[in-house]
Amino acid sequence: MIASLKKPEAPSDDKRWKIVQATMRRNGYSRNALIETLHTVQNSFGYLDEESLRYVAASLRVPLSAVYGVATFYHLFTLKPQGEHTCVVCTGTACYIKGTPELLQHIETRYGIKDGDTTADGKVSLLTARCIGACSMAPAVVFDGEMEGNVTEEQLDTEVDGWLKS
């Protein structure tokens, strides 16, 4: 039997692969489900590593180059592990007008991280988003999935300092 005709084995017996497999199965292992599958991988593992990209490529029979192309085309996918906590600063128009640049500058000065960076201790990652649709509460920041509006530097420090101490 030609090896490629078989569905590849999951890279490990980590339970989270079951979730990934479920997504692929639900979509009939169709190539069209590549983005959906990558979403599931990232939600389950936090990021997309080489092993998972290879596994998804083999399972959906999408060329490696296409998988990598998709994984690096979309902003939400990351090939690097994130910090324990994430701080997503909205850089939409309203937030920009109402002080996002100053917030980002403040974070850089105080915590030494820029967009896409993680603090040296691996605790906090800073990300930016292109408008999270919370324009009426600009500037908006998402702390570990919880959106906060009209964020001030003090508020931000309280959140981030809390994480760093934990």
């Binding site: 290879r54 180059s65 990598y68 192309g69």
Partner: protein
């Protein structure tokens, strides 16, 4: 808009650069122009590969259309009046060539493809004697890991001819595009060194279809890399048979 359905035998009449020409339904402006020895510039289009429509050098003016249309991807229609070489188009094409020269580090004098490069030839054809855009000087790499070939991102114009020939003709799909926008790059598999690729068949089609010195054979010095293009006509012939 939905294309007008016409019986396949019907002949269309249209005008390209004030010459009355005939065309078959389903042909593109590019096809018809070539049938009548009218040359329209282009860098990403290759017969036999899917139409990419990205270099924008083959943009033409079609009377009655507000926007410029890419000759490679626009199907002809009865009575179409096309202008392929207006002052405006020449200006835009020059600028597109300049953009390509400014985007990466095309140092022709030391390039192995010097003198055998489509980008260089296009610059001469379109009268580009200097680049008035600021050079962007990106720090891009050279991948020499393959036994026989080299990928030099400095010379790449992202026409994706290599990606298409690799996926559509060779069937290896080793090459792809990673990243996006100004940071987009040609990649091999999961962006690994080309030499480590397990899918590459080393067929070399990507090298010879590449218009510039981005994909070359190793062991060539400046101006020595002549590309073998004699296989290109077969891309379509072999598919049709």
């Amino acid at each position: 808009m939905a294309r007008q359905k016409l019986p396949p035998t019907q002949t269309l009449t249209m005008k390209i650069d004030d010459v009355d020409v005939t065309a078959k339904p389903g042909q593109t402006i590019q096809d018809v122009a070539r049938d009548h020895d009218i040359e329209i510039p282009g860098l990403c289009y290759i017969d036999g590969l899917t139409i990419w429509g990205a270099c924008r050098l083959c943009l033409v003016e079609v009377e009655g259309m507000r926007k410029l249309l890419a000759a490679c991807s626009t199907e002809v229609a009865e009575g179409m009046i096309v202008h392929t070489d207006t002052e405006r188009l020449r200006r835009y094409r020059k600028m597109v060539i300049e953009m390509l020269f400014a985007e990466r580090n095309h140092v022709c004098s030391v390039c192995v493809s010097n003198g055998h490069c489509d980008l260089q030839a296009m610059a001469v054809q379109l009268g580009v004697d200097h680049v008035h855009l600021p050079y962007m000087n990106p720090d891009v790499k050279v991948d020499s890991s393959h036994d026989r070939f080299r990928l030099d991102h400095n010379r790449c114009i992202l026409c994706t001819r290599c990606v298409r020939v690799c996926g559509e003709i060779e069937g290896a799909a080793t090459k792809g595009v990673g990243g996006r926008g100004i940071n987009a790059r040609i990649i091999n598999d999961l962006n690994m060194p080309w030499g480590d690729s397990q899918t590459c068949t080393s067929c070399g089609k990507c090298v010879h279809i590449c218009p510039t010195g981005a994909l070359v054979e190793k062991g060539t010095a400046a101006a020595e890399m002549k590309k073998h293009r004699s296989f290109l006509p077969y891309l379509t012939v072999m598919r049709e048979s």
